[in-house]
């Protein structure tokens, strides 16, 4: 066996592309040096990855299913963030209360409001903006960028131009301390919320008839119609879910940052596009894998080589595309 083939076989044995985040973690440890810093950065990276996963999964399915390029996706992220911030500010008494129940209700209200807004806005966006330009990429790009600009202006008009603080429910404040390692509660919560969404999406995609239709539609939507199904009805359901998850991701991100400005959506969108491309369009597993890699790499590089932080994810994307032009986990078995 030649040396590269040997390495490839070993790579497959340890889990193939699924093991990449773990490989990245192991490589980072000696470079970072301190174990407690490594744990902190790893938890931050996983939490950030899961929040990006929430934002990216819908976009990936929307593109996979209908070839629709939605550059307006970041509007859902921004609206989710600002709506959550407003709800939390409005429920300030509950947010700061000494009662876990009230804390939890405030959190639930903020995430719920953002998510419900995402569902409704997703419906409106699909019917009014996307539907007239199915299968016309140039017009999709133009019209969704147009919608994005309008959304940003609405945010500016409603919430003003200066950054606004996001109160965090007391129950998510603080850290778990284990030895000399401190782990922020919020990060753990973000991680498990993302994991729960991933498991739910995977179950729906793999165990239900609508999931079967979505997976089939990602491969060949014409054939799904020739079997007697309305792909457009399927698509609007997927679009609304994707928008709702983006808004939920935006809401979580707002709480993570603590201070948000109108630029948030656009900043996250760059990462979301990178995740969707390296993960493989139309694949939920791919989005998760891509998001974890981007989250971890971003945090590690910001610590080890701060000057490279911005470029690192672009470099990651180029490297992965050179290696696997269809992304890590493309939806269609190739």
């Amino acid at each position: 066996m030649s040396k590269p083939a040997h390495i490839a076989a070993m790579f497959d044995r340890i889990g193939g592309v699924n093991a990449l985040p773990v490989v990245l973690m192991i490589i980072a440890l000696p470079l970072i040096g301190s174990f407690s810093s490594w744990v902190t950065l790893t938890v931050a990276g996983l939490a950030m990855g899961m929040m990006i996963f929430l934002m990216a999964s819908g976009l990936s399915l929307v593109f996979g299913l209908m070839d629709v390029l939605n550059f307006g996706h970041s509007a859902f992220i921004s609206f989710g963030a600002f709506i959550a911030a407003s709800v939390l500010a409005w429920l300030a008494a509950w947010v700061g209360a000494d009662s876990l129940t009230l804390n939890f209700l405030a959190l639930f209200a903020a995430l719920g409001a953002a998510t419900l807004f995402g569902l409704a806005a997703g419906w409106f966006f699909e019917r009014v903006i996307i539907k007239p330009v199915y299968s016309d990429h140039l017009r999709q790009i133009l019209i969704t960028i147009g919608a994005l600009i309008v959304s940003e202006q609405i945010i500016l008009a409603v919430w003003g131009g200066s950054p606004i603080p996001v109160p965090r429910p007391a129950l998510l404040e603080g850290s778990f301390v284990i030895g000399d390692v401190a782990i922020e509660v919020y990060r753990v919560f973000a991680f498990f919320l993302g994991l729960a969404v991933f498991i739910a999406l995977t179950l729906v995609l793999n165990r239900t008839r609508i999931g079967l239709l979505i997976r089939a539609g990602v491969e060949d939507r014409e054939m799904v119609e020739a079997l007697g199904f309305r792909i457009d009805r399927l698509f609007i359901a997927v679009f609304m879910t994707g928008s709702a998850l983006a808004a939920m991701g935006g809401a979580m991100w707002a709480g993570y940052q603590g201070l948000i400005s109108g630029a948030l959506g656009g900043e996250m969108m760059i990462l979301v596009f990178i995740v969707v491309i390296i993960g493989g369009l139309g694949s939920i597993e791919g989005s998760l894998l891509g998001a974890l890699l981007v989250g971890l790499l971003g945090n590690y590089v910001a610590f080890i080589f701060p000057k490279l932080a911005l470029a690192s994810n672009m470099i990651l994307m180029m490297a992965i595309l050179l290696w696997r032009p269809w992304g890590l986990r493309p939806a269609v078995g190739k």
């Binding site: 079967l212 997976r215 089939a216 990602v218 491969e219 054939m223 119609e225 020739a226 078995g333």
Partner: protein
């Protein structure tokens, strides 16, 4: 008209700016295999896609039993009882054999009798039941595409060049399967392989350049060597 399952009446179809079908008319009676022949690029696939509503007829009518389906949505046409096996087979590679077939059922459940029958026709389907469809060979994919079309009772099956790239032994198995299927389902078959087509077909239409060049009973075409040379040399020339 009710003795015809399908009737095309002066169908014109454009693809983009190209006029591809210039008035196709034919009738498909109930039962048996009916064949569309024609050289490459003649418009056979376009005819099937127009029936399925995947291309829209600019003028003319497509009538299925008593329904005018010319302007219907593809999914509604399928639900009336028409199955389509496209030239590329339309297999979902990322789905298992089972999932591919399940999608073609109305409720998501299988009729054990029909399924057992399919396993008899195509044993490979049972063998690869839980394997992803991309791992099947070309012939097995074609069998899956046909199995999917017959997993529930249909009135009419449109099949586009099922023998393309298949070994002679598999083609013989296909002939047996089609004879069996066509006992209770009408089949409209697009085919280049004259041997295959002539051993199955009851009626035949030859399409050339978007028009019907000939139509009649298959045995007439098989018996009439002159006609055969004239029509089939067309296709031989096109293959040179």
């Amino acid at each position: 008209m009710s003795d015809y399952v399908l009737r095309l009446d002066d169908v014109h179809t454009d693809i983009g700016d190209y006029q591809v079908l210039h008035g196709i008319s034919f009738n498909v009676p109930q039962g048996g295999v009916h064949v569309l022949l024609g050289r490459n690029g003649a418009g056979k696939t376009t005819t099937l896609r127009t029936i399925m509503g995947l291309w829209r007829a600019r003028s003319g009518a497509v009538v299925f039993k008593h329904h005018d389906i010319t302007a219907m949505h593809t999914s509604d046409i399928a639900r009336l009882g028409i199955a389509y096996v496209p030239e590329n087979m339309g297999i979902f590679g990322g789905l298992t054999v089972q999932e591919n077939m399940r999608l073609a059922t109305a409720t998501g459940g299988f009729d054990d009798g029909r399924l057992g029958h399919i396993f008899e026709l195509f044993p490979a389907m049972e063998k690869f039941w839980d394997k992803p469809a991309w791992s099947l060979s070309g012939g097995q994919k074609q069998m899956l595409a046909i199995s999917r079309a017959i997993i529930e009772k249909r009135e009419l099956i449109l099949i586009d060049e099922p023998t393309k790239g298949l070994a002679p032994s598999i083609i013989r198995a296909m002939i047996a399967a089609f004879e069996e299927i066509s006992r209770d389902t009408t089949i409209l078959l697009v085919e280049q392989n004259f041997l295959f087509a002539s051993s199955l077909g009851r009626n035949v239409c030859v399409i050339d350049d978007g028009r019907i060049a000939h139509s009649g009973r298959m045995e007439e075409l098989v018996a009439d060597k002159d006609l055969q040379t004239r029509l089939l040399s067309l296709s031989l020339d096109a293959h040179q």
